[in-house]
C-alpha cells in the first residue's frame, strides 16, 4: 500500500468514528426541543439547561461523586496489588494479578449481576455506596495495568542504590518508588474516572432506580422523551475523554502506556 493510501485508510476510519459525534454535537445546538441536523436555528440554551435543571443536575452530581470515589478506591487497591506482584513472584502474585484483570476479561453484565445479588444479600441494594464499591472493584483493572507497566519500566538499580545507602523500606517507598510511579497512578486514576462516568450496566443493576447516573438518565430519556440535553451530555463526555487522554498523551508516553515498545522519541 502506498503512503497516501495508508493515510487515507486511517483518516476514513477516524472519520467514521467521528461522524456520530459530529452529528450529536450539531443536534446539541438546536434552538428548539428537536433533534434536527443540521439545526435550523442555533443556540447554546441546552448547555445552560443541563446545569440548571434539577432533573439533570442530580444525575450529574451522582456520576461525579461515584467516579471520583470509585476511581480512588480502584487505585488504593491496585497500588498494593501491583507492588506485591512486582516485588515477588509466586502463586499468590499470579492469582492476585489474574483477579485484578479478570473484571475486564468478562462481559460486564456478568459482574453486574454478581454485584446485584451480592448487595441484595447484604441489604445494601439501591445505595450509592453499593455503586461506588462495585465500580471500584470493576475498574481496578485499569490502575493495575498502568501501575504494573510503570513498575516494569522502573530501573531496579535505583531501589538498590537507595537500599545500599541505608534507606529503610519505608523511605525507599516514599522517596524512590512512589514519586517514580506518580504519573502511572495519575493515569490509572484518570482511566478509571472516565470509565466510571460512562459505565451503565453495573450502575443500573446495583442501584438504577434510586441512584440515577448520567448514562442511566440518558437511557431513560431515550425511552421517555428525547431532549437535546442528551446530546449536550454526550458532547461533554467526549470532550472530557479527549481532554483527559490528551493530557496523558501530552505529559506521558501514551504508546508506551498502551504496550508499544518501538516508538521513536518525539
Amino acid at each position: 500500500m502506498s503512503r497516501k493510501l495508508q493515510a487515507a485508510y486511517i483518516l476514513v476510519i477516524l472519520a467514521a468514528l467521528a461522524a456520530p459525534i459530529v452529528v450529536v454535537a450539531g443536534v446539541s445546538l438546536n434552538a428548539e426541543q428537536a433533534l434536527l441536523f443540521p439545526p435550523p436555528e442555533m443556540s447554546l440554551r441546552w448547555y445552560g439547561a443541563l446545569f440548571s435543571s434539577p432533573d439533570w443536575l442530580v444525575p450529574l452530581r451522582n456520576s461525579l461523586v461515584i467516579a471520583a470515589v470509585s476511581a480512588l478506591l480502584a487505585v488504593l487497591v491496585a497500588l498494593p496489588l501491583a507492588l506485591h506482584v512486582w516485588s515477588r513472584g509466586g502463586l499468590l502474585s499470579r492469582a492476585l494479578y489474574t483477579l485484578g484483570v479478570a473484571p475486564f476479561m468478562l462481559p460486564p453484565v456478568i459482574s453486574a449481576l454478581g454485584f446485584l445479588v451480592f448487595w441484595v444479600t447484604i441489604g445494601m441494594y439501591g445505595q450509592m455506596a453499593a455503586t461506588i464499591v462495585s465500580h471500584g472493584v470493576f475498574l481496578v483493572t485499569l490502575p493495575v495495568v498502568t501501575l504494573s507497566l510503570g513498575l516494569g519500566a522502573m530501573d531496579p538499580a535505583l531501589v538498590e542504590a537507595a537500599r545500599t545507602m541505608g534507606a529503610t523500606r519505608g523511605q525507599v517507598m516514599r522517596t524512590v518508588i512512589l514519586p517514580l510511579l506518580l504519573p502511572y497512578i495519575v493515569s490509572g486514576y484518570a482511566f478509571a474516572f472516565v470509565l466510571s462516568l460512562n459505565e451503565y450496566i453495573i450502575a443500573y443493576m446495583v442501584a438504577g432506580f434510586t441512584v440515577e447516573t448520567l448514562p442511566i438518565k440518558i437511557f431513560n430519556s431515550l425511552r421517555y422523551g428525547y431532549t437535546p440535553i442528551m446530546a449536550v451530555v454526550a458532547v461533554l463526555f467526549v470532550a472530557l475523554a479527549v481532554a483527559v487522554f490528551g493530557l496523558i498523551g501530552r505529559f506521558g508516553n501514551l504508546p508506551r502506556l498502551l504496550g508499544a515498545e518501538r516508538v521513536e522519541e518525539r
Partner: protein, 280 residues
Amino acid sequence: MSARADRPTPGWLAAIPAAWLAVFFLVPFAIMLGVSFAHRVPGGFYEPGFELDSYARFLSPFFGRILLTSVALSAGAAAICVALAFPFTVILARMGGRAQTLVLVALLAVLSLSEVIIGFSLSTLLSKTAGVGNFFAWLGLIEESRAYTPSLFALMTGLCYLALPYAVLVLYPPVSRLDPELGEAARIMGATPLRAFWTVTVPMLRAPLFGAAILVFVFTLGVYLLPQVLGQPAHWTLSVHITDQAIFQSNLPFAAAMAVLLLLVSLAMVGITLLLGRAR
C-alpha cells in the same frame, strides 16, 4: 538482613487487595452461582435450595435461539472489527510518535464512551431527521430522507463502533513489537508490499489476531444497550435477557443461571486465548 526483608514491599501488603477482591469480587460470583440453583418464589426473590430448574428452562428453543443470536452477532462483529482493525494497527504502528499519540487519544476517547452515548449518537446519525438519510437525499441518491434504525445493519454498525478501538488497542502491542526489518527484507528480496504483508506480517501475527477476535467476541457478548436502541426485539442478546429477567421479571435464579452459562462461554474463550499466548 534476610532475603525476605530485602524485598521493597512487606508481605502483608498483599492482604489488602486479596481481602478486598475476595469479598467484593469472588463472593458475589459465589452468591450468583448459589442463586442460580435456588428456588424461585414468584413475585418475591428466591429461597435457598438446590434445583436445576433454571438451567432446564434455558434448554428451550426460545432461549436456544437467543444464545445463537448473541453468538452470531458477536462472531460477526469480531470478524469485521479484526478485519478493519488489523491494517489500521499495522499502519498506526509505523507512524511517528506524535501522530500515534493523537490517534491513540481519539481511540481511547471513543473506547471510553458509554454504550448509551454510542447508541444514542448512532441512532441520531441513522435517524430520519438528523442523519445520513438527510445527506443522501441532499446528494440526490435517494428521493426522501429515511431512517436506517432500528435494524440489523444499525446494530452491527453499533457493535463495530464499540469494539473497533478495543480491537486496535488489543492488536497494538504485538503489532508494534513486530520487527519492521522483516517486511523490509521481504521487499528487498523483491516482494511487493502487499505480498510482504500477506506472506510475512499476517502469518507472524496469526495468534494475536485470533486472540483479538476472541476478546472482541467476549467484549460484544456483554453488550446490553445497543440491541435495545439500534436493534429489533429479534436481535435481543443474552445480556438483554439476563437484565430483563433480573430487573423486570424479578427472576433472579434464572438470570443467574444465564449469567453462569455466559460466564462459562467467556471463560472457555479467554482460556483459549491464554493457551494461544503461551504456545507462541
